[in-house]
Point group: C3
Chain length 324, copies 3
């Protein structure tokens, strides 16, 4: 089980790979730490010395300027030294294996790896190979998990909605291929969310999705009915060109979030999106920029949540409740 390698024998968190199996206490503990970092971003001098003299390597095998930037900013505000490595899987295959690359960087006394990789399980593989004092954060691995995104979403929901036990959360779009959705679902269920719904065309819903404790809908209006939180997923361009969906126009008609669709949800529902948005495909601009949108606060919260995760792993050694 992944939980095993994420936490050491003394209950200290070593890695941050997945929200699967993470306890409510663990998640809430990280969110509380993140709250304390929100103010850092609002100060005149946005810097704390927590990770001074630590070396963080952003090891990205998949291009993602956005995610890399959030980790680079988070790390620099913690005063860490950040090394950006952008490489492609093919370059790695030719030259040296993934683990040789990591062992080399580790031999340079890297303290923490932030890993983005197109293959599910890559961050996990790395975490299993590094020595005790080295930490791994999964910044997205294949279709598997994107746990820092999952946690920043929980942070955002808590800021606006408080008690998860009374919330209906709807996740809309390409659930099948989404590591973001997976990380959200695990976190939401761990936090005791009243109801987690997934909405999308049948071709983009995993076969036995209900086993994750969610309700599946293929009709958007029905799925949005009475929701407190709506999370729109990005529709990857490659899906639009595949046989899985009829076309961008048709997708928008059926699953695009418009003001009319939004009225199915509760009047105080918040609208979220992990970005980058396809305006006019999964979301209408008037909703994306409307009063219920908390899409930009998500980005702001993302820095605080990533600072919290980096600081907890590589900085202080405070223990956290053991995962069951």
């Amino acid at each position: 089980m992944i939980g095993d390698i994420q936490v050491d024998a003394q209950g200290r968190r070593r890695h941050f790979l997945s929200t699967e199996g993470m306890s409510a206490d663990t998640i809430l503990g990280i969110l509380d730490t993140a709250e304390s970092f929100i103010s850092v971003g609002e100060r005149e001098i946005k810097k704390v010395p927590l990770l001074r003299g630590k070396t963080i390597v952003n090891l990205f095998f998949e291009a993602s300027t956005r995610t890399r930037t959030t980790f680079e900013i988070a790390g620099k505000r913690l005063s860490a030294d950040i090394i950006n490595i952008n490489t492609s899987v093919s370059a790695t295959q030719k030259g040296e294996s993934l683990l040789d690359t990591v062992r080399n960087l580790e031999a340079m006394h890297t303290d923490l790896f932030v890993v983005r990789h197109p293959l599910s399980g890559a961050a996990d593989l790395i975490a299993r190979s590094v020595p005790d004092h080295v930490h791994v954060v999964n910044a997205g691995d294949g279709r598997h998990a994107h746990p820092t995104q999952g946690l920043l979403d929980m942070f955002t929901i808590r800021r606006y909605k408080n008690d998860f036990a009374r919330l209906k959360v709807a996740i809309v779009g390409d659930i099948l291929h989404s590591r973001v959705a997976r990380s959200q679902i695990h976190a939401l269920t761990a936090l005791g969310t009243q109801e987690v719904r997934v909405i999308g065309p049948r071709s983009l819903l995993p076969a036995a999705i209900e086993r994750l404790g969610v309700r599946a809908f293929t009709d958007l209006d029905e799925g949005l009915h009475g929701a407190d939180v709506i999370i729109m997923l990005r529709l990857q361009t490659e899906r639009m060109n595949s046989a899985l969906i009829p076309g961008a126009r048709e997708y928008f008609d059926l699953y695009g979030l418009t003001p009319r669709r939004l009225r199915q949800a509760r009047p105080d529902a918040i609208v979220m999106h992990p970005g980058p948005m396809n305006r006019g495909i999964e979301i209408d601009s008037s909703v994306a920029d409307g009063p219920q949108s908390v899409i930009l606060p998500q980005v702001t919260n993302g820095i605080a949540v990533r600072m919290a995760i980096l600081a907890r792993l590589a900085g202080a050694t405070a223990s956290e409740p053991k995962t069951p």
Copy 2:
């Protein structure tokens, strides 16, 4: 008018987008600040804490290692955290719009954007969209403006020639496509330069260039006659392959600055070039490396001028004279 958004209601400079409409007092104020930063580059420890804890994003939609490097060095010597983002316009178009990109970065509490973009007006568009506490520096937008280059050129001229009211300044080359020339002309006229001349083939001179307050020449010898300052522009490779000029060899014969041509100017004239130079096309190596060349001092001054601009925008909050 651009001047409107560059300065706030209290007369504090918010953005640095263009030298157009900038008053002599404003320009001279920045040059004076830059003078104080010259010594920083000459110290043993080339660092001042003015922008500690500030986040500067170098947002480059056009590759330019040189310009990016000058801003990165300037920012680091001010102790800011620098994030480099190199992207292409096509990537942006596919993924998310320019303003979505900026809003996202802004939500990460970016303090200042340094923007390079192939389209005229891009920096302006961004400046209009950011909240009050976020600053934008135009590092070159299409054919429109490259104001930090313009100001470092004014700084360099003042260091060697002092009183603009007694100077004849000749700008030579592709005036039509040059954002550098445009920024220089606006600054030179604002500073009351006695005579600003532009020299180039008719095909590379804008139609009504005299309206900017300059004299146009198609003959190099005539245009250089009695000049105190000669600014050679880079001839873009694409012009050489176009119908606009006959060929590199012919261009050099007609508009290349050789020792013989240089003798048309005053004996104490200085020779400038924004770089990178095409040796043997717009300038002869013996002139580029000769005793009248101040091309490398321009580069050195560029760091000080950019430090001054970054510091004035994101650091101290001293007011400056309002532009009329």
Copy 3:
């Protein structure tokens, strides 16, 4: 002679370009400094203020994430500001000459250039052009030299084997094209190594290699016999596709280091490799990861040795023994 420009009239080291002509005292002096930096990598806060406010430019005309990363980490742990410039030789040829690029960066008050270039002599050329206060480190130039790799290898050998006068060192592989081998051979002979051997197919051994003071072998078993140190070189992919060697499989059979081959060496022999390794081509995984391998310690030592070199050049001004 290269030694001339590496050291100034007062015997202070200005550049680090080649191990050729370097005295034993000079090498041992750098290794001693490196010893003092080993502990920095093992501290909680891996940072010393020696190069605070200094600007180091990593000027890479050849892609090498590994080498660039080691210098970036070394520079950051010394508190320097690091600017990464990755460019291609073709881009340089088009735009501006190598020396124009360097002069520009130098005009920005760069203190030290770390140069990687596909052409032999490039770092040398740059070193000859920079003013007195600017330093150049060769991070690999064509087939000529990779002296920081050479020195980190000496550091590693000394840590495990102590007295060079009693050591037999075997370098195995593509000696002909290897700048690493060249730098190792010069350093090993300067340090008075008892016997330096090179082993490889005749097509990959330079014609008059014995003149460098080494013994050449085409038979691996014979060359490894009684060796204290084995340095395996990386076989470049392009060699495998050329007529120089029959094929990867055949190469491994003849020159790959397997446990059986390793038994030809002394039982306490150490195995080294500059990385990245081609497992199954020049080295068997069981040897690469085996108890005699010191390949990862080489990487760790590489940071300390590079910190020592950067600090000695750009930091303290202690003199060193003049090279003869």
